[in-house]
């Protein structure tokens, strides 16, 4: 049960009556009796909350930064009207609005209640409980009860870097020699031959075709297709560190490295799929957290975002041995292994570096890491002794980062180290460069 403001108001009015009454003791007990009676009547005549039936729309998926409309169908099979408040409770991170709905369901009818969620972070969210407060006819007291109604919202990574996709695809087409600008009119005879333009490699001129025609004609090579790309996302402790500014909420405490890595991985996967390469995905810290095998090309991205959505940074040291073993088990043919992790000197020294030769001997390894703009800002601090000491610490970290990058490159590993906003674009460029160079 629950009381309303009217019950308190009734008591205050009763107190004034007691103050004025000639027989205060009698008046007091009378007032108390009236309140108890009103509460009893309301409780007895309020609609039954326990009998209510609820139905919810199916599980929803929403991209981070967008809103989800959750519909709840309330059916009242009881004999009395249910009038009052309803709260559809969701975890606070989903910011449900409005907090409570006014509800009025006549007997035997159904009503629809819509709650809007604006999630603050990625992941799976389960509805907590539906609580209904059914007021009595006097509005003094109400019956209250909660129901467990299923319902889940999966908040997907926002894939903010998709705005880079058209530009990268244009570059991809240029590499493949399919750029529409360079194709002559529709009646082109030869698919794989085209007119020479300034800048083409003279070695690619097809002299036989040139001899047949007035123009100089070059032979274009399509880059190799059906290569395999394995994207490995490190979900260990280093992925929990927050970098930059949270693009979804503008929170200056930043976005985890894991989320920046996902953003870059999604752009890379989209690009690879268009380039005709096969993409596999693996999230690993001390065990496989998620994996996607690039089956059908069309549903690669939906599969990826679904697999990424529930990932959280695990506060454990990543197991590099296990990761390499998992990669080797999945990639039998030579492929491009893209590892999204942090260039942390100590973590790499003890983790990945000793086992990297096993990987780089059989595969092409590309290591991508997000750099912290805060470190650059700290390194420029000159205002006082405290700032200069912090600048020295920042410089020390940047030196270590450069050293570990150099060591990785000596192992034959490609390294992409970019600021949070540029990582996706830089990683895509690195992939395109490898593709253009035919190193895949």
């Amino acid at each position: 049960m629950a009381l309303t403001g009217r019950a308190a108001l009734l008591a205050v009015a009763g107190a004034l009556v007691v103050l004025a009454a000639p027989a205060p003791a009698v008046a007091f007990w009378l007032v108390l009796g009236v309140i108890v009676l009103a509460v009893g009547v309301d409780l007895a005549l309020a609609g039954s909350v326990r009998a209510l039936r609820f139905e919810r729309s199916d599980d929803q998926r929403v991209r981070l930064g967008e809103t989800a409309e959750i519909t709840l169908l309330v059916a009242n099979p009881g004999r009395r009207r249910v009038r009052g408040l309803l709260r559809d409770a969701w975890p606070p991170s989903t910011r449900p609005a409005p907090r409570e709905h006014a509800l009025d369901v006549p007997a035997g009818e159904r009503r629809r209640v819509t709650t809007t969620l604006r999630p603050l972070r990625r992941g799976d969210f389960t509805a907590a409980a539906v609580t209904v407060r059914a007021l009595g006819p006097l509005g003094v007291a109400a019956r209250q009860g909660s129901h467990q109604v299923g319902g889940r919202v999966r908040v997907l990574p926002p894939f903010l870097s998709r705005r880079h996709l058209p530009g990268k695809l244009a570059r991809l087409r240029a590499i493949e020699g399919l750029n529409p600008v360079q194709i002559r009119g529709q009646g082109t005879e030869f698919d794989s031959l085209r007119e020479y333009v300034v800048g083409d490699d003279v070695r690619s001129i097809d002299w036989r075709a040139t001899a047949r025609r007035a123009d100089v004609v070059v032979r274009t090579w399509r880059p190799e297709r059906d290569r395999r790309v394995l994207i490995v996302l490190d979900t260990g402790r280093t992925s929990a560190g927050r970098v930059g500014v949270d693009p979804a909420s503008g929170d200056p405490s930043g976005w985890p490295r894991l989320d920046w890595g996902m953003d870059a991985a999604l752009l890379l996967a989209a690009l690879c799929a268009r380039a005709g390469d096969r993409v596999d995905f693996l999230a690993y810290d001390r065990a496989v957290r998620a994996q996607v095998s690039g089956g059908g090309r069309g549903d690669l991205l939906p599969g990826l975002v679904t697999a990424m959505a529930p990932l959280e940074p695990e506060l454990v040291e990543a197991d590099a041995h296990g990761m390499v073993a998992a990669v080797l088990a999945r990639a039998r043919r030579r492929c491009l292994v893209v590892v999204l992790t942090d260039l942390n000197a100590t973590a790499l020294d003890e983790g990945l570096l000793p086992v990297l030769p096993q990987l780089s001997a059989r595969h092409l390894v590309l290591l991508a890491a997000v750099a912290d703009p805060r470190v650059a800002a700290l390194a420029a601090g000159r205002d006082g002794a405290a700032e200069v000491f912090e600048a020295a610490a920042a410089e020390r970290q940047r030196v270590e980062r450069r050293q570990v990058t150099a060591r990785l490159r000596r192992h034959g590993v490609e390294v992409v180290d970019a600021l949070p906003g540029d990582l996706a674009s830089a990683l895509a460029d690195a992939y395109l460069n490898l593709k253009a160079a035919g190193r895949l």
Binding site: L3, A20, E55, P91, Q148, L378, A385
Partner: protein
Amino acid sequence: MTSVTPTITERWRSWRGVLGALAAIVLAATAIVLFSGTRNGGRLDVEATTPQGARALAELLRAQGVEVNQVTTFDDAIEQAEGSLLVVARPEFLVDAARLAELAGRPGPRLLIAPTEPVLRALAPGVTARPGSTETVREPGCGLKAAVLAGNALVGGSSFTDATCYGGTVGVVGDATLVGSGSFLTNGRLPENGNAALAMNLAGAHQRVTWFAPRAPLGTPEGGQKSIAELIPANVGWFVWALVVAVLLTALWRGRRLGPVVEERLPVVVRAAETVEGRGRLYRARAARDRAALALREAALARTTPRLGLTATAGENEIVTAVAARTGQDGGRVREILYGGVPAGDAALVALARDLDTIERQVRDS
């Protein structure tokens, strides 16, 4: 989809254990209080077994065949005073002058323990009290038989005119026996020195003792002034109770949540730059200027040498010469900045950082 609010039956089932335990605790506490030996009570109460009570004296008197009746109201005292020794144990509670006069009208012996001014005026007229000697063990020092037989006793408090024993604190004036303080009658002090003997001699002189020990003030002081509590109309009291009910209902109204608190497992929030900031503070705390300067110099060199067209293997002299040539600064000073010693203080470190910035900028811009 199921209701998660328990029914009345389920609620009773889950709470009955707690309610049962509470009831058992209350019952046990009541039983212990009812059947235990100790009796609480006020000072000099013949029922009280506390150190301040007078149960021991009463029992001793009863063993000697003396009938001891405790009364707590004027009516009982006036009714029973006749033919017995009236012991006024709590004179501070006797404030009603009219009733005191009525009591004084009944003839008979009295034992006044630490009497107040109104009590003295009514029951021992003509005697005045002088306040304030400390309670100590004193010698009788007089001819009163009861005192001489008892010997040393713990007395003190007020002393009275016409009282001769124990330095004026105990004396007999007419029907009234005056005692400056009642400590020697209490359970706690009775066994010491001659306290018990003095108490028995004073209180046991008669076959009946009416022990007048009220537990609360009786009547109002003279002048008939009413206390504040009596001046407030009865309505206000009930009004306050009604307000209490209103506050309670308001608390219940505001305190009831619409549904339970929703829990959520939140991710950790740790800024990646925290390790760098922490290391910076550590440098500062340990005044590690050598390491800080080394880090700053290394970083500046790593950025400057490629701009000078030098490789990473270039030696100190080569770099200093190249920098001096590019920037136009003095070679010795450039060497001091790039390869000098540890800065002497924090100010020197800041200056070094700025000098390195200057060299870097000059190399970049030239």
